[in-house]
């Protein structure tokens, strides 16, 4: 136990003072001063914190009348202008505010060299004809790289990373068949506004026999070896029971409604290519005719800028031309 009497003594060997505590009769400890370098470093941190406090600034001083010290703790960017409900990014006056991450982001989006380069390339590609993009190595490299990023973020979840789609759910983008039109303007509209595909279910309006016949006819259009008699009566149903209204009497589809071309051997809904026998193929087509199709692609105009959509169209066109 320590001795409660405080007798500060001097150590005879080193001359250093002791703390005055004594344990076990003779055990004492030196009261050495803190190392000088450590002590000054400690004082330096205190001084630093006071300087930081003033400059940051969390103490209102004459330095920082508006809440910041111009250039040191402020950040500037252009506000957006909003006229008649239409927003022009960075179209407004320059504002200077105390440094913060939101202002920093706005500043970076307007000044960061990489961001400016990205913007310039997006604008450049958006203004080019598709044929010119393919010819210009810089632009096509940009479309392949940047378009892949956008496609991966927004499109791949349904159309898959390679654009091959999922049969029965999401259309293939790399074949030549386009439900809603494959022209640049068509694809652009599809991305911007989204699409709602709707084929009514026919299980209530047609008998099983009629659906079988129609399925045989549809398969015969793609050159499948189906029963000719069933296909012939199927053609009658196709033309009189409403199928031709959307798919057209020639069965080549109608892009205004997203109605598929049934003569091109491409199956986006029915699992025909996977089916091995004719019976299985008929069954696959029957499923589609019976249940109809309800598909929806979201509209992207609120998430992607017009120019970005154009880059995306160029990417999809490059994908499908490969």
């Amino acid at each position: 136990m320590s001795d409660h009497k405080h007798k500060i003594t001097k150590d005879p060997l080193t001359g250093a003072e002791t703390t005055g505590h004594v344990w076990d009769d003779d055990l004492q400890e030196f009261n050495n001063p803190l190392p000088t370098w450590w002590l000054w470093a400690f004082y330096a941190t205190i001084i630093f914190s006071i300087v930081y406090w003033i400059i940051y600034p969390s103490w209102p001083t004459n330095f920082a009348k508006r809440g910041f010290i111009e250039g040191a703790t402020s950040i500037s960017f252009n506000a957006d202008s909003i006229k008649d409900g239409k927003k022009t990014v960075a179209g407004g006056e320059e504002v200077t505010v105390p440094w913060n991450t939101r202002a920093l982001l706005a500043h970076e989006m307007q000044n960061d060299p990489n961001e400016l380069k990205r913007n310039a390339m997006v604008k450049k590609v958006a203004g080019m004809a598709l044929a010119d993009v393919a010819k210009d190595p810089d632009s096509s490299a940009f479309v392949r790289a940047y378009g892949k990023g956008i496609f991966g973020d927004y499109c791949a979840a349904c159309h898959q990373a390679g654009g091959q789609g999922v049969r029965g759910h999401y259309p293939n983008l790399v074949d030549d068949a386009w439900l809603w039109g494959g022209e640049t303007a068509d694809i652009e509209t599809t991305i911007r506004k989204g699409r709602k595909g709707n084929m009514p279910a026919h299980k209530a309006s047609l008998s099983d026999q009629q659906i079988t016949e129609a399925a045989n006819y549809v398969l015969s259009l793609s050159g499948e070896a189906v029963d000719a008699g069933l296909a012939a009566s199927g053609k009658e149903i196709f033309n009189t029971k409403g199928c031709s209204g959307c798919h057209t009497p020639a069965a080549t589809g109608m892009k205004a409604l997203g109605a598929a071309n049934l003569t091109d051997k491409i199956w986006t809904q029915a699992h025909v290519p996977e089916a091995e026998t004719v019976e299985a193929k008929v069954k696959a087509v029957k499923t589609v005719i019976s249940n109809g199709i309800q598909r929806e692609m979201p509209a992207w105009e609120t998430r992607l800028s017009n120019d970005e959509i154009k880059v995306l169209v160029a990417y999809i066109k490059l994908l499908s031309s490969n």
């Binding site: 409900g85 505010v97 991450t101 939101r102 759910h169 979201p298 998430r303």
Partner: protein
């Protein structure tokens, strides 16, 4: 000069000075909060019939139950709902999250772990049919996904027992669901009449069924399943504010 010894040997003085030292930390954090005008952005609808009303509203009963399922299944362990104000996040996910957007979340779902992508703006990004397919078996649409399957969501009927009590509880912690005529009128003033109707606790179950029927989120119009609620919740995330109508500078003021 005050020697340490005199402090350390005087218990009362030691306590007083210890309290003084540690209270500095607390004061530095708490005092500034009393001098700033607000941390939650005041975001109004800029056009349409509800012009001038609050853009962010509490969840409808269906969305709220969907949110409960989101929590029950532990979605937050892999998905954050917090887009930070960085350039890479802005390019990938969209506008950074505002405090206003999670003001009616109890508890908020900001999270810090992103094994999967951030979901703060997932609303409207995919069709409801996609969500149903994806939640049932994620690899059916995203082959490289490591997300588990949640096949029971479409099969399990949505449990609406205690819905009104749930909403009343949320009301106690500040979510403006309405019980009385006065509260309803306050909501009409704040959010507009169409929204106020959705927040009426007395109409909760009716509203829930109507929204599920209209939205048909799980693709099965005959069944009110947990999938309906969860997809309804996912589809509203991050969609309440139309950022194409707001000036960036107005959000910067709140920092």
């Amino acid at each position: 000069m005050l020697k340490h010894e005199s402090i350390e040997t005087n218990a009362a003085l030691l306590i007083v000075m210890t309290l003084a030292a540690i209270s500095i930390g607390g004061l530095v954090e708490i005092v500034p909060l009393h001098f700033i005008e607000g941390t939650v952005e005041d975001v109004r609808i800029t056009d349409g019939p509800n012009k001038g009303k609050q853009a962010v509203r509490p969840y409808t009963p269906l969305e709220q139950l969907g949110r409960d399922i989101y929590q029950r299944e532990g979605c937050y362990t892999c998905h954050s709902q917090m887009i930070r104000p960085f350039r890479d996040e802005a390019l990938r996910y969209g506008h950074y999250s505002l405090a206003a957007e999670s003001q009616y979340d109890h508890p908020f779902q900001w999270g810090s772990m992103r094994r999967g992508p951030d979901l703060a703006r997932v609303g409207g990004k995919y069709s409801s049919a996609w969500h149903t397919k994806h939640l049932t078996q994620p690899t059916s649409v995203v082959p490289e996904s490591i997300m588990p399957n949640y096949p029971w969501l479409s099969e399990t009927p949505l449990d609406v027992v205690g819905l009104a009590d749930k909403m009343s509880t949320l009301k106690m912690v500040g979510v403006p669901y309405s019980h009385t005529k006065i509260e309803f009128d306050a909501n009409v003033e704040k959010f507009g009449e169409d929204v106020a109707k959705k927040l009426d606790i007395n109409m909760a179950e009716k509203n829930l069924e109507a929204q599920a029927k209209l939205g048909n989120f799980d693709g099965n119009p005959d069944k009110l399943s947990e999938m309906d609620a969860l997809v309804a919740y996912l589809q509203i995330l991050g969609t309440m504010i139309d950022f194409s109508k707001h000036d960036e500078a107005e959000f910067v003021k709140f920092r």
